[in-house]
């Protein structure tokens, strides 16, 4: 795109000033000063924008870094066209990555056939980060006109953190039909004594109460607490409102991902089925599953799914629609673990509705509130009220102070819950 900068506007007037004065005074010296202005005016009058014909390459030293690792990026710009007297280059650094050393911008003059290099370092963060096109502005020598272009150079940095260490979250009483670790309120095969009932044909011989038969002659069957596995969906709050920060460049989403990984690890270890859903405009769904493959899949999705991106969504969001979608996918017997900073009332309503539809909900809420300004103190109070409201409805809430490990917060909260 060609654009005149109009920076020299008024230079003709400045050139005319000595000219006029010189003519009036008939003073050749002053007239000569006018030449200065005319020279510059002629310089500025050339408004042919430079031809931009460049080849750009981007070199990334580590495309699959660990979180926090420094990644060196080098941009090489080769001028295949004529001289560029004033070339400004801004690399399209992915929005979630922070530059830690150097600058992704460069201003230079580039002769034909020469190559300029631009090096900087970014800090890797969770997610798949695609570089945006390189933005170029070329100006002519006098800067009177400029041409803007973008050059797409595809590069990606993919950072998949390992799942955080397990945090054992006690589940609520609803299970599916597979054997597992959750003690249920119904009798059957198991370990812990539940009740004695009258014998029915077909009962296993190993469960007949022989002592009672010897004493009274009646056949009776011992029942144990049935131990079943649970199906759990981790639901992460990916709405714009949930991207509240902790004041140190880490948004609630990072804490949600950390907690989801920790809880999922422990659940998978215990033999429960774990799935993943995004509550927000960007949809992600991993059906509950078991085993090593599921663990790898959860790790991957937690790191890379767009719904859990470190960058807040731009799209419009309809909570009802997202909730309906989650409900449609959740198996009937599944529980939900909601991860949310509880930054507004809408998420509270959604949690209550999920519970009302028969999916027991446990909430893990990273606490990112601060108390340094009246507005923030108000937000802190509001969040506390939301937690109380949820607890009054019988929903378990882990209020996680993010300065401490999530496993500790979960264990402390679990002590207050009935087993």
């Amino acid at each position: 795109m060609r654009r005149e900068t109009e920076r020299w506007r008024g230079i003709s007037a400045l050139a005319l000033l000595p000219f006029g004065v010189g003519v009036v005074l008939r003073e050749p010296g002053i007239l000569l000063l006018g030449i200065v202005g005319i020279g510059y005016a002629a310089y500025a009058a050339n408004t042919t924008p430079p031809e931009v014909d460049v080849t750009i390459e981007r070199d990334i030293d580590e495309p699959d870094p660990d979180p926090g690792e420094e990644v060196a990026v080098t941009l090489s710009i080769t001028n295949d066209g004529p001289l560029l007297a004033d070339l400004r280059i801004v690399d399209g650094v992915p929005p979630a990555l922070e530059t830690t050393e150097g600058s992704p911008r460069l201003a230079t003059a580039l002769r034909s056939g020469k190559t300029a290099h631009l090096s900087y370092t970014v800090e890797a963060r969770r997610g798949r980060h695609e570089f945006e096109p390189v933005f170029l502005v070329a100006r002519n020598a006098s800067s009177s006109v400029e041409r803007e272009t973008t050059v797409a150079v595809d590069s990606t940095v993919t950072c998949v953190p390992t799942l955080s260490s397990p945090a054992k979250l006690p589940l609520r009483g609803k299970t599916d039909t597979r054997v597992g670790r959750l003690t249920t309120g119904s009798g059957g095969a198991g370990v812990e004594f539940f009740a004695v009932r009258e014998y029915r044909p077909g009962d296993s011989l190993s469960r007949i109460d022989w002592r009672r038969l010897a004493k009274t002659g009646d056949l009776a069957t011992v029942e144990f607490h049935e131990e079943r596995a649970a199906s759990v969906a981790m639901v992460l709050d990916g709405r714009r409102e949930a991207y509240v920060g902790d004041g140190q460049d880490t948004s609630a989403m990072e804490y949600q991902v950390e907690a989801a990984g920790a809880v999922a690890q422990a659940l998978l270890d215990a033999g429960d089925q774990v799935g993943l859903a995004g509550f927000g405009p960007r949809w992600t769904w991993v059906p509950p599953g078991l085993g090593r493959d599921q663990r790898a899949r959860l790790r991957n999705e937690l790191a890379l799914a767009e719904a859990f991106s470190p960058v807040p969504p731009e799209e419009r969001f309809l909570p009802g629609l997202s909730l309906r979608r989650i409900r449609k996918h959740l198996p009937a017997s599944a529980q939900a673990v909601f991860l949310t900073p509880l930054s507004d009332d809408a998420v509270v309503r959604s949690i209550e509705r999920t519970e009302a539809f028969g999916h027991p909900v446990t909430v893990i809420s990273p606490d990112l509130t601060a108390t340094d300004t009246p507005g923030r103190r108000l937000a802190t109070m509001e969040r506390r009220l939301r937690i109380r409201q949820l607890r009054e409805r019988g929903i378990r809430v882990v209020d996680w102070d993010v300065a401490r490990p999530v496993a500790v917060a979960v264990a402390e909260a679990a002590r207050r819950w009935p087993s």
């Binding site: 310089y43 280059i89 600058s103």
Partner: protein, 165 residues
């Protein structure tokens, strides 16, 4: 993401200050009137460059050119004032360019080559035509006719205006 320091590159500011400084000294070396104007101009130029306010810098440049006009009008040497005027305009050009660079790429980006290229061209563009004009003016036979010079400049102006269209 931390914010970008959009201040002008230091090299650009230093060069502009240097050019303007020499121009102010040259203007001040003439009469009292031109000295007064030069002092006024230097205030504006300094403020404009250091605070990044281009309108101030432009106003300062106009005052500086006026100071040189007054200097020549009050009997100062022509050569130094021509040089001073070129330096004044070049200082504005370099200062404005640096300010603009700051807004595009920030103070932390490498921009030395761009600043130096621009500054060199800016000074050359002032010196070369004036040098030619001056040589013609000095060497012209027959008592340096002002009317010829007027016509020459008029032609130059018309040409410039024509080019701008």
């Amino acid at each position: 993401m931390t914010g970008i320091d959009t201040g002008p590159p230091r090299l650009g500011v230093i060069i502009a200050l240097g050019l303007a400084g020499i121009s102010v000294l040259l203007a001040g070396s003439g009469s009292e009137a031109s000295l007064a104007l030069a002092v006024l101009a230097s205030g504006f130029v300094l403020g404009g460059l250091l605070a990044g306010r281009i309108p101030l810098l432009s106003a300062g440049t106009v005052f500086l050119v006026l100071a040189h006009l007054v200097r020549v009008g009050t009997g100062g040497g022509l050569e130094l004032s021509i040089l001073g005027t070129v330096l004044a305009v070049a200082a504005w050009d370099v200062g404005e360019h640096a300010h603009d660079l700051g807004e595009y790429v920030g103070r932390d980006a490498r921009s030395g080559r761009s600043v130096l290229t621009h500054a060199t061209l800016s000074v050359l563009v002032g010196i070369v035509p004036v040098g030619l004009g001056y040589v013609a003016f000095v060497l012209a036979p027959g008592g340096r006719p002002v009317s010829a010079l007027v016509l020459l400049l008029l032609a130059g102006l018309l040409l410039t205006v024509g080019l701008e269209r």
